[in-house]
Amino acid sequence: KDSYTIGVSNTVQGNGWREEMVCAMKAEALASGKVSKLNIAHRNTDAAGQLEDIRNLISAGVDAIVVNPADPSGVNAALAEAAKAGIVVVAVDQGVTEPSAYVISNNQEEYAYLGAKWLFETIGGKGEVVYMRGAAGASADSDRDKGFKRALAEFPDVKVAHEVFTGWQQDQGKQQILDFIATGIPFDGIWTSGIDNVIVDALVESQATLVPVVGADNAGFVGQLNKVEGLKGAAVTNPGSIGGAGVALALQILEGQKPASQTVLVDPELWENVTPEGKAKLAAAADPSLSAEWPVSISIPNWTHYTKEQIVACKGPGE
């Protein structure tokens, strides 16, 4: 069969990362040539709303569902119903505990650990850091918190001077750091959960000391790591294109090629602008043509098959 319909469920709208994820799904579906229709439920909602969306997709009779779960266990009921109806279920970006579902995900704990460890090393294993988290209560945030704490435990002389939730909102993050800078309390580094370029902006605008900053591989931040004079920092990859990988995995399973394990973790990479190798990676990754909120890793080797034009065009089959 080469005309599958695939359902997609996502519960964060208006976030650059998630938009890239959806575009990657569309591009992969188109590039594969095996998908006749994508049926996308994409809105701001909670686990209960996602249950509704997944059930609507089941009603629509899709062959597979690719889901970015609002919660690791909160949507299990609907995922189990889908599996019972013979639908292939793939979770991307974050895991689910439903055993019948396949998972292809960024390793969120590792993401935080890598960046935090680099930061603590860079500031010399001691000092005060600002810890700028994501949305309070979101599961990606709590996974990352585990990674951050693990790294922190390895550096007993590093202290958290200030811990805040940015809510993954640019303006919140910017105001928070400006407020903190204004207090005059010294700090030696900043770890962010992906709200990164506005933090660098704030440091520059307020003429504060440019301390090392850790962020994600968002286009804006990568550009800054390349260009901003005196800025030390690292981008940890967290590809939104994992969505495309999810579609690819779903298609493989539909074609009868089950993966060896239910869970495939894509490990993050860290690109810093201190060593020549890091600089080279950053220079290669930089893509000023992308929207600042889009992660630059727009494809995942061995998984996705579309071109940059295709993901940027953001068009699925039949569009």
Binding site: Q13, N15, E19, Q170, L178, D179, A182, A292
Partner: protein, 328 residues
């Protein structure tokens, strides 16, 4: 002729203070603002410096501007829940159009959706008499949807924040935020408009008693249409300024300002039922909220406790203020 003329004996001090407050509703608000700043300085000596003030003002301005929209619409008994969407749309369109166009043309295009949403709100509320809460919520949903569709074109073309906006949004001149260059005229316009123009009078009039206004020849729908268009345009301009301040055109850029913009107007003494209030209070309200946010952040509380305190203080301030000002 004043009320005092009828008094046989001097009123007790408490009542005199109340009457003073009632005539000068700004005074207690400013006192509160000063107290909050005092507390902040007490908690972190040295924090209140030139840089901090500039920073606070910078962030209070967009809030105060969106709260201008709430003030004006609340005076007529309405509310404008589409302001954050309108601001975000303007910012997003601006950033997207600036890649190819000069800032002025881009700005004009960016304000177009604001104009359209304003007209739709005005017609819905003024002509069809849809409840403003619902109407502006609906157009806001439509606006967000359009933005999400539009957003795809930006992925291909990229986005750019014009330098002029960055200068306006983030720049300081001699320690004073450049944003005041935009804000002072806007604030003066709103204050003077409300106090000294026929249109301002009509806003109070339709908010107080729409029937009475009608019997005096006031055409409700015209007033409301003009009002919501004006509100949307101010929101749009706020979006442009905010883009200059945050410098990332995200799809939820101005959302966090939505509920605080209502709170700022309310704290500033504008009645949500219409007919009473003004913009000067709102500006102080916006400053109070901004300082309060900083204060709570510095307390280093868990997020949950911070939210609880924030809500409690907003409520307390509003209640105390009403008590103080309500001379009845």
């Amino acid at each position: 002729m004043t009320d005092t003329a009828t008094l046989d004996r001097p009123a007790p001090l408490g009542r005199r203070i109340r009457r003073f407050m009632s005539d000068q509703p700004l005074v207690p608000l400013i006192v509160l603002l000063v107290i909050l700043v005092g507390v902040l300085e007490f908690l972190r000596p040295g924090i209140v410096n030139e840089r901090w003030i500039a920073n606070t003002v910078k962030f209070a301005i967009p809030l105060a501007m969106l709260a201008a929209c709430q003030t004006m619409t609340m005076l007529t008994g309405g509310i404008d829940l589409s302001v954050s969407t309108v601001a975000t749309m303007a910012a997003f369109f601006m950033a997207a159009q600036s890649v190819a166009l000069d800032p002025v043309s881009a700005g004009a295009i960016a304000l177009l959706p604001a104009l359209l949403i304003g007209i739709a709100n005005g017609i819905g509320v003024g002509v069809f008499r849809v409840h403003p809460l619902i109407m502006t919520l609906g157009t806001s949903l439509v606006g967000i949807g359009c933005l999400q569709v539009y957003q795809r074109t930006v992925i291909a073309s990229g986005a750019r924040v014009p330098d002029g906006l960055t200068w306006l949004g983030t720049g300081l001149t001699g320690g004073v935020p450049n944003a005041l260059l935009l804000f002072i005229p806007v604030a003066a316009f709103v204050i003077l408009m409300l106090r000294f123009t026929g249109f301002g009078r009509l806003l109070y009039a339709v908010g107080d008693n729409e029937r009475a206004a009608r019997l005096s020849g006031v055409q409700y729908w015209r007033v409301i249409l003009a009002l919501y268009v004006l509100s949307a345009l101010i929101a749009g301009i706020t979006g442009l300024l905010y883009l200059g301040l945050i410098r990332t055109p995200s799809l939820s850029l101005a959302d966090p300002l939505m509920l605080p913009s209502v709170a700022a107007a309310v704290i500033g003494g504008t009645s949500i039922f219409g007919g009473r209030g003004g913009y000067a209070g709102t500006i102080v309200g916006a400053l109070i909220l901004t300082v309060l946010t900083t204060l709570l952040r510095l307390l280093q509380l868990p997020e949950g406790a911070r939210l609880i305190l924030f809500g409690a203080i907003v409520l307390l301030v509003t209640a105390a203020y009403l008590r103080l000002v309500d001379d009845r």
